[in-house]
Symmetry: C2
């Protein structure tokens, strides 16, 4: 049930795209897309929705919305060790605003092009601003990273820094200035696609910390049948975070989610390899704890060890 | 960024599902699903969104919403000749209402089970009621049905009857009684999956008439570089439609869309085969015109031939 206006929108979106891939047999413009998945890989697929006023504040830069709506999905693919390939975009717009759409597609296709991802389909509808993206990728089946493979004694690592996006949002909502470094973390998170691929074969588990590192580690614990001990003092922070985060709110901000870093486990024998990998990828990798027998996430903070309740970002 | 409430919703949805498939390597519960696509088929993928108040009236039976949100996507796969396999569900709910969700999943999984489709992922978020479904399926690459293959002289066929859903909606909004036959067409459309598969190899083009048969035929004309001549008097109607549709509104209702029938073309030599197929599938197949050289959709109505403007259902 599409109107002429919707066809114009779809045509506009289609023409903004520059990437082509030989495995797209039939892209936007028929009842469905037709794609050629590689025979020797598993297909990896995820879908996330961002709603205005829930996942991003009213007035967010449309470029940031476009970028982030794809980024959160590429982050999920990265957490499986998958290389992204295709995506679909379901865009619900309150009105047909070409200028907004141009900026949105700028952000969306900039990130898509950076990862050689082709938009192959989707839908445009009328309603409150909401963006659902479905992303697909591939991984050799036996090398996929999951939540269930952590072993007792494995180190727990996290990429990048934690809490920057949450601090940016907090300062923005409080009417305080937000340094560019923090704003970028909120608006244009970098999905750790290269890291995810590089971890294939030796990381024993992996998850993206979109829901907050402690909550997400809780999922790995449950799936792997283990406990996690995390050193709160080891959680990596950026210089901007270090300078601006109120002391009493640091842990809360660092475990609020919206970070899109990878939290993964690996046997201690891989420490040197991971130090080298961090250098090669120019990406901070920090060891924050280890898996033990038991259950739940236990946080040591200034010498104190306590079972921690989940602290994820709650918007449902 | 998921809260405990969202995890409960996902867990509830997960437990409502009964279908299992060996090609689902990893379903709901990790960062992404992992799937094994068959090497000798193309992957076919589509995604459609239904918004409350736009695509279905406020107060629609949740079972119908669940059914229809999947059906409209299976209809797109059918139009490619694809067999469905997996789907993802992005569900945006104004509140966490278990009774509503139970009825929604009843409808959704009833249709999914009928087509051996497994829900492998998605998202639940807070916001105005909106449902995005992404559906996947397979078709042998060389046998896929597209919009671009119609030839001069090919017959144009349509499955089922047209206008029932539009008439149901019109009567409902006018406060008039709606016979069950019409209500079913609106609430629980039957995606023509078996027909789509059966048309592989001899239908020269295919599209689902979700946007209205004349508008959708216009897309086939554009993609195939042809004109279509349609006999308005041949458009198939149900007995209920015939009895209740106001004479002056018939063509408008029949070309309003929301019908989810397949409109396809085939060389005249296949007429007998299609009559047999209709009998085998217990599904009405009606010849409504033919493709000619030229462009646009031309409608003959009571002897009158006129180029027709698009009359699709406009909600954007």
């Amino acid at each position: 049930m599409k109107s002429a206006g919707e066809f114009d929108l779809i045509e506009f979106i289609r023409t903004q795209q520059s990437v082509v891939r030989p495995d797209v047999l039939l892209g936007i413009g028929d009842d469905a897309a037709m794609l050629q998945a590689p025979a020797d890989h598993a297909l990896v697929m995820c879908s996330d929705t961002l709603n205005e006023g829930v996942h991003f504040p009213v007035g967010t830069d449309p470029e940031a919305i476009g970028w982030k709506s794809l980024a959160v999905n590429l982050s999920d693919l990265a957490a499986m060790g998958a290389c992204p390939s295709w995506c679909l975009l379901n865009l619900c717009l309150p009105e047909s605003d070409t200028r907004w759409l141009e900026r949105f597609t700028n952000g969306f296709f900039e990130l898509a092009a950076a990862h050689d991802v082709v938009l192959v389909g989707g839908d445009t509808t009328r309603g409150p601003l909401s963006i659902s993206v479905t992303a697909c990728g591939f991984v050799p089946r036996e090398l996929a990273l999951t939540r269930s493979g952590a072993k007792v004694g494995d180190d727990i690592w996290v990429s990048g820094t934690l809490g920057d996006a949450a601090l940016a949002l907090r300062r923005m909502l409080a009417g305080e200035s937000v340094p560019a470094e923090l704003m970028d973390a909120l608006d244009r998170p970098t999905p750790r696609v290269a890291l995810g691929s590089a971890l294939r074969g030796f990381a024993s588990s992996c998850i993206d910390v979109s829901d907050g590192v402690l909550q997400d580690l809780g999922h790995v614990c449950a799936a792997s049948g283990l406990a996690a001990e995390v050193a709160g003092d080891w959680l990596p922070v950026s210089d901007a975070f270090d300078a601006l985060a109120p002391r009493e709110a640091r842990l809360q901000l660092q475990s609020s989610g919206d970070d899109y870093e990878l939290c993964f486990s690996a046997a201690p024998g891989y420490r040197n390899l991971l130090v080298d990998l961090a250098e090669k990828l120019d990406l901070r990798l920090t060891r924050i704890g280890s898996f033990t027998s038991g259950q739940g996430v236990h946080l040591t903070q200034a010498g104190r060890l306590s079972a921690l309740e989940k602290r994820g970002h709650a918007h449902f």
